[in-house]
């Protein structure tokens, strides 16, 4: 029970990060490998502001704002000039940005992991006989669920969301129908980075922040996005939660715990073999 709920909350974190990958992929048709490092920057922001002010709320708000600004700046400076370049050029740029951010973090904060205790302080509750649950797990779950519902409604029911769908279907046609594609891409990066800020807050509960803080959850969330079907928003949620559950279940069984990461990525390979477009990915129909 606890394992499952912990798995769900870890999955929710992966899902939040995976959403950032999948939205950017769906709309800008690029893989933003610097996304994981935005999480790292968000975590350092929380750490720094929290140690200065001692106020977790301010720390978190600053972190969201910083992540959003960072996302927009990365898009404007690094990716926008390459909009017509080959996908490989964009990919390698993204990896470059990722290295740059990690290097800067090392320069400023050093390589030592620094832990922040915000949500952990909330303690734990006993929900039933012998089942003790951290409140932070519940907070993570509830907040992530709310965020995902709001995001889904935003995409489905609003003008901007509709424009995002239109851009992801046919950029040229959307532009000729009066949609400002650059603005939509910017909004996408902003939303993705804001989700990353939430993820960094939740992930900080689990491990202390270091320059490579975002690397592993980033790559796992990317795997989750691919498992769910990259470009699909519900897919990212499903993939993330699935991966989180698998990870926690594996970790709870002593015999297979050391192989957890291998099992996770094995799952990725297995799903891609059975369904190459991911669980909820769109079928690509070939026309003759």
């Amino acid at each position: 029970m606890v394992t499952l709920l912990d798995g769900l909350s870890l999955g929710a974190i992966y899902a939040l990060i995976a959403l950032g990958y999948t939205m950017v992929y769906g709309i800008a048709k690029m893989l933003n490998f610097a996304h994981g490092d935005v999480i790292m920057v968000g975590a350092y922001a929380i750490f720094t502001v929290f140690s200065i002010t001692g106020n977790p709320v301010i720390a978190f708000i600053v972190s969201i704002i910083l992540c959003v600004v960072l996302g927009i700046v990365i898009e404007k400076l690094a990716y926008k000039p390459l909009r017509t370049a080959s996908p490989l050029a964009v990919l390698i740029t993204a990896i470059g940005v990722s290295n740059l951010l990690q290097g800067l973090a090392q320069l400023i904060f050093g390589t030592e992991p620094k832990s922040v205790i915000i949500l952990n302080k909330l303690g734990s509750v006993e929900i039933a006989d012998g089942i003790i649950l951290n409140i932070s797990t519940i907070v993570t779950l509830v907040l992530s669920a709310i965020i995902m519902i709001v995001l889904t409604l935003f995409i489905k029911k609003t003008k901007t969301g509709r424009a995002m769908l239109a851009v992801s279907e046919d950029k040229g046609a959307a532009q000729l129908m009066g949609v400002n594609v650059n603005k939509i891409i910017m909004i996408t990066f902003a939303i993705g980075s804001a989700l990353a800020a939430f993820a960094s807050l939740f992930y900080l509960i689990k491990i202390p922040v270091s320059p490579s803080f975002g690397a592993l959850p980033g790559i796992k969330a990317f795997a989750a996005a691919v498992i769910g079907g990259i470009g699909s928003i519900p897919g990212a949620m499903v993939g993330g939660i699935l991966l989180g559950l698998v990870e926690n279940i594996c970790l709870s069984i002593d015999v297979i715990a050391p192989y957890t990461t291998s099992i996770e990525f094995g799952l990725l390979i297995l799903i891609l073999l059975v369904k190459p477009t991911g669980i909820l990915g769109k079928k690509i129909r070939e026309k003759v």
Binding site: K159, A163, E169, M177, K282
Partner: protein
């Protein structure tokens, strides 16, 4: 107010050494139904791509209602009042019919609603969404598509997809509507219905319409004036009946 809705002055574009369009001078009056015809590869769609901003012209310029739009971006040109359909239908296939039209309404000033208002679902968001939905329904009604509004665009029959493209373009509230082979692939009765719809749109919205078409019955049936392009150059221009009987034009189409 300018005399012409669309005026192109010495408009031309070359791709490397290939002069795809040269010295094109179109003068389209307000509320006119104007045809652009010519054999395959004559440069008709290229002209559309220039005046919607997809390509930048290498020579000359073009004016919409007296305002020069050369060098502007696609979405800006669309806001200024030029909307188009595509030769190969380019609907948002995995979105419902009504949402396709609502994307077209995206930039109408009366539906301005910033992402923040939407994100936090303030009252303004709901009122503006509701108005948009109503407006979209109204447009769909004109094209007899209201019943199908919740179907996915890709599930519509071909003729209706063509109509939906026109509806989506109209939703952007243009002054000038560009139709790229609207009757392509239609059967005679669908073509007849389309002709009626085009005329209706012109009369109902005081629309200026420029269309590319190969179906000469449609062109002679609804266009008041035509320009014939051949190898990127203007071959003939004038009243439809005169031009289509011009021996030069017949030669370009059928050979000697």
């Amino acid at each position: 107010m300018a005399e012409y809705m669309l005026e192109t002055k010495n408009l031309g574009i070359s791709f490397g050494g290939l002069k795809a369009v040269q010295e094109l001078n179109l003068k389209i009056k307000k509320k006119e139904l104007y045809g652009l015809v010519g054999p395959n590869g004559a440069g008709k769609t290229t002209v559309f791509n220039i005046i919607t901003g997809v390509y930048k012209p290498t020579t000359g310029t073009f004016l919409l209602d007296g305002e020069e739009l050369k060098g502007k971006k696609e979405e800006v040109i669309n806001h200024k009042g030029i909307a188009r359909t595509f030769q190969n239908i380019r609907l948002f296939n995995n979105m419902s019919v009504i949402r396709n039209v609502m994307v077209g309404l995206h930039n109408q000033p009366e539906f301005r609603c910033d992402p923040f208002t939407s994100m936090f679902r303030l009252p303004k968001h709901f009122s503006s969404e509701k108005e948009m939905r109503e407006k979209a329904k109204e447009i769909l009604r004109i094209f007899n598509l209201e019943e199908e509004r919740n179907n996915l665009a890709c599930n519509l029959p071909y003729g209706k997809q063509r109509k939906l493209e026109i509806a989506r373009a109209l939703a952007t509230n243009p002054k000038l509507l560009l139709l790229d082979e609207p009757a392509a692939g239609m059967n005679p009765s669908e073509t007849q219905e389309l002709m009626d719809t085009i005329r209706f749109v012109r009369d109902e919205f005081d629309m200026t319409i420029l269309l590319i078409e190969h179906d000469m019955k449609l062109v002679s049936g609804i266009c008041e004036e035509v320009t014939v392009l051949n190898f990127g150059q203007e071959l003939a221009q004038g009243k439809t009946s005169d031009v289509l009987n011009n021996p030069e034009v017949i030669k370009a189409y059928l050979g000697d």
